[in-house]
């Protein structure tokens, strides 16, 4: 029962994340990749993404706060963040990165800093959401249930 409740919550929550654009179809792909041989695949990948993203965001912050900004480096970092966020389906981060890159092309420091803020914000949001989701999963499993597969 509790399991069912948890599972329902899980399903609804996941649906809302998709609906609100935090996640896209790529995330579903990740979920579909998860199987018995890799039961924690999604969690592992997302954790990896968080680690890597924090590193990138720190590098970006540093780079944009230099006396003379090296936009090539900034662009390269944003590009990578865009790649990894799109790979796990973190749609809003990806979109923020795209905007960010445009300003990098223009070498607009002000706008770039604003974009960086935006990206960081999106990152925090999705990180919280996913942490909540994973917690739900753990609860389900702890309660003896299985995690519903999203279609």
């Amino acid at each position: 029962m509790e399991v069912v409740q948890l599972q329902t919550r899980f399903v609804e929550y996941t649906a809302s994340l998709f609906r609100e654009g935090y996640l896209d179809a790529q995330f579903t792909q990740l979920q579909q990749l998860q199987d018995e041989s890799n039961p924690d695949f999604v969690v592992e990948v997302v954790s990896l993404f968080f680690e890597d993203s924090e590193r990138l965001l720190n590098d970006l912050t540093r780079a944009l706060n230099q006396q003379s900004v090296d936009f090539k480096k900034v662009d390269a970092n944003v590009h990578q963040l865009k790649g990894s966020s799109s790979s796990i389906g973190a749609q809003r981060i990806k979109n923020a990165c795209i905007t960010f890159r445009n300003f990098c092309d223009e070498q607009n420091i002000e706008a770039s800093l604003r974009c960086l803020q935006q990206v960081k914000q999106e990152y925090s949001l999705v990180k919280n959401k996913l942490d909540t989701l994973f917690r739900l999963e753990q609860q389900i499993v702890a309660a003896g249930g299985s995690i519903p597969v999203m279609e």
């Binding site: 792909q29 990749l33 890799n38 695949f41 993404f49 790649g83 790979s87």
Partner: protein
């Protein structure tokens, strides 16, 4: 088709794999167990892709640095079937990695990136990636990557066949040459067309070379260096897989392996020199080609070339050529082509400096044509004939003949040429000595494999010198470049020259010349030969036969070459030169070939046609008779060169 090896490879195909073993060939490749090397600096993507590939039942090895990937590939040449690499990586550009892999290991490479801008995707195409995936990559996209493995093997197999057959039959040689020279895009077409023309010959060749299963050859650094050395020795233009294979003398290596690798190498060199893919980029090659090539030539006289070659800046072939040129090996050898060409001109080539840059291109192209002429004239040409040719050529001016004419006359020149003057500029007649130098230097390449180069140079000089003469300088450079790039034109040209053997025969034969002349245009000399050749082109089919008959220039060279005056530059080169190297006699044959190539005039590329034309030419004229003469005169070259 039977992809061969893979079927045998038992990647422990589970029954799920589709018709793997059905022997159907292509589609039966083993999708399961496909060994993928994954390279991406993004750990998230790396993990996701690895999981996806594992889900496709592929064997995945991942690494996050290109250097690691390369070393993995080098250590275990046959350990992977396909490589997937990200474009933007901190330690090495993905395209660079792509090139390395293509050159050293000849594996299919898929590029991927979050960047989907057209120019980046285009870069992937031009660098030879077999596919380009946009991130985020979906598993569906990865499921079908095995098709690239199969496709590549299929093409390589075809390559082998082609190259293999080429050597056997002149006509065949043409196609392969084209293949090598033209961009890969043309290969397919070329091959097909070639098949039509040559058909039969290829078949036999193919049988033994085109093994059903092509074992994958791992091109280790040492092996590649051996390959490069062989190619240099032969001369990029004249480097035929068969010869390369022989020079390399590596057990277990097949001609197909070499042919496929050669193709890649040529593309690689072409890219290095920044020449446009198409052959007509001669100009580019000459001028454009990386400074290194040119500069080195001028400065080197082969000495630097080596260094350059070693550094990879100078295309191996060029290096070989240059070296040869600078070494000033026996002029007589070079004389082969030189005599025809005009030894003087040859020398002028010596100034590798890029005469081309100066706009030799045209010259080169002219030269090539010219060269063809000479070659076309082939073997039967006796020294005097050469002289005649010269005369006629002179009138024509752009004709290589002049060069050749000189060549014959200047066989002694050749001797002079042996002197190391290498940098002689295009030489005018006065530059003869220079030419000789050039020729001597050139000769080397020419003789051995550098004939093509020599030829090229000759062409260059011819232009310069006589106006018609090739630009020696450019030639040299072109030669260098050619080797690198397409220079199909050059190759064609060079063949002429390079064929020296053919050349000498020409001069010696003399007879041919006359006939040729008449044939060619009915007029004097070779100039007309261009036209003639063109005509010949048309005649192709018959010519071939004729060629064979008459041309037997150099029996030694290749049975094919002889008959096949196919001349197509490529053909000539291969045949004439390669064999020429083996035996001086062959030179004569080369001449014949060269003539044909000359026939191309317009299109350097016509090489295949040239041969035919030549044949036609030979056939038509009493060349036949001449031809026979030619044959016997294997020693023509001797005659040519004092």
């Amino acid at each position: 088709m039977n992809l061969g090896g893979h079927a045998a490879k038992s990647l422990s195909m589970p029954s799920t794999s589709v018709s793997w073993k059905s022997g159907d060939g292509v589609s039966d490749q083993f999708p399961v167990g496909l060994r993928v090397l994954l390279v991406d600096d993004d750990p998230t993507c790396l993990m996701i892709l690895e999981k996806m590939l594992r889900n496709c039942l592929y064997e995945v090895t991942k690494c996050n640095r290109a250097e690691i990937a390369l070393s993995l590939l080098r250590e275990n040449r046959n350990g992977f079937d396909i490589v997937i690499s990200d474009v933007h990586m901190p330690d090495m550009d993905g395209f660079k990695l792509l090139e390395h892999i293509g050159l050293e290991m000849d594996l299919p490479v898929i590029m991927m990136s979050a960047d989907d801008s057209k120019n980046v995707v285009m870069k992937g195409v031009t660098h030879g990636a077999c596919d380009y995936l946009i991130k985020p990559v979906r598993i569906e996209a990865l499921k079908n990557i095995w098709q690239h493995v199969v496709r590549k093997k299929k093409h390589e197999w075809k390559d082998f066949e082609q190259s293999g057959s080429m050597e056997d039959g002149e006509s065949q040689a043409k196609p392969s040459e084209d293949v090598e020279y033209s961009s890969s895009a043309n290969e397919g077409n070329w091959r097909n067309s070639k098949r039509r023309k040559d058909g039969e010959d290829e078949v036999e060749e193919r049988d033994d070379t085109s093994a059903l299963k092509k074992p994958r050859v791992v091109w280790s650094v040492e092996l590649h260096q051996q390959f490069v050395a062989a190619v240099n020795q032969l001369g990029i233009d004249k480097a035929v897989p068969k010869k390369i294979l022989e020079l390399m003398n590596v057990p277990g290596l097949t001609r197909e392996n070499v042919a496929s690798h050669l193709q890649k190498y040529r593309l690689y060199l072409r890219r290095l020199s920044g020449v446009s893919q198409h052959q007509n980029g001669l100009n580019n090659s000459f001028m454009g080609p990386p400074e290194a090539t040119f500069g080195s030539i001028s400065s080197l006289n082969g000495l630097d070339l080596q260094a350059l070659a070693a550094t990879g800046q100078l295309p191996a072939q060029s290096l070989a050529t240059l070296q040869a040129a600078s070494l000033g090996r026996s002029t007589s050898k070079s004389g082969m082509s030189m005599p025809l060409v005009d030894q003087r001109n040859l020398f002028s080539f010596e100034t590798p400096k890029l005469r081309f840059g100066e706009g030799h291109q045209q010259q080169l192209s002219n030269n090539s044509k010219q060269m063809n002429l000479f070659h076309g004239i082939p073997t039967t040409l006796e020294p005097k004939q050469l002289a005649n040719l010269h005369q006629s050529a002179q009138s024509f001016r752009g004709m290589n003949m002049q060069v050749n004419a000189h060549g014959s006359q200047s066989s002694s020149l050749l001797a002079h040429m042996a002197q190391p003057e290498s940098r002689t500029q295009m030489g005018n007649e006065t530059n003869g000595s220079q030419i000789s130098r050039l020729s001597s230097t050139m000769a080397q390449p020419i003789l051995t494999s550098g004939i093509s180069t020599g030829v090229l140079a000759r062409n260059g000089t011819v232009d310069r010198v006589r106006g018609a003469v090739y630009n020696p300088v450019s030639q040299v450079t072109s030669m260098v470049d050619f080797s690198v790039n397409q220079n199909t034109d050059l190759s064609g040209n060079s063949f002429c020259l390079g064929n020296n053997p053919g050349v000498s025969s020409l001069s010696s034969k003399g007879v041919l010349q006359e006939e040729v002349n008449s044939k060619m245009k009915g007029s004097s000399g070779f100039l007309p030969s261009y036209d003639i050749f063109n005509e010949l082109h048309q005649q192709k089919s018959q010519d071939w036969e004729l060629q064979n008959v008459g041309l037997t220039f150099d029996a030694s060279q290749h049975a094919n070459t002889q008959g096949s005056l196919d001349v197509p530059p490529s053909v000539l080169v291969h045949q004439g030169f390669s064999s020429g190297q083996k035996s001086g006699q062959n030179r004569n044959t080369y001449l014949g070939n060269t003539m044909f190539s000359a026939g191309e005039e317009s299109g350097h590329r016509n090489a295949p046609n040239i041969g035919q034309q030549l044949n036609a030419l030979l056939a038509d004229n009493s060349l036949r008779g001449v031809k026979t003469e030619l044959l016997p005169d294997v020693s023509c070259e001797n005659a040519l060169f004092p």
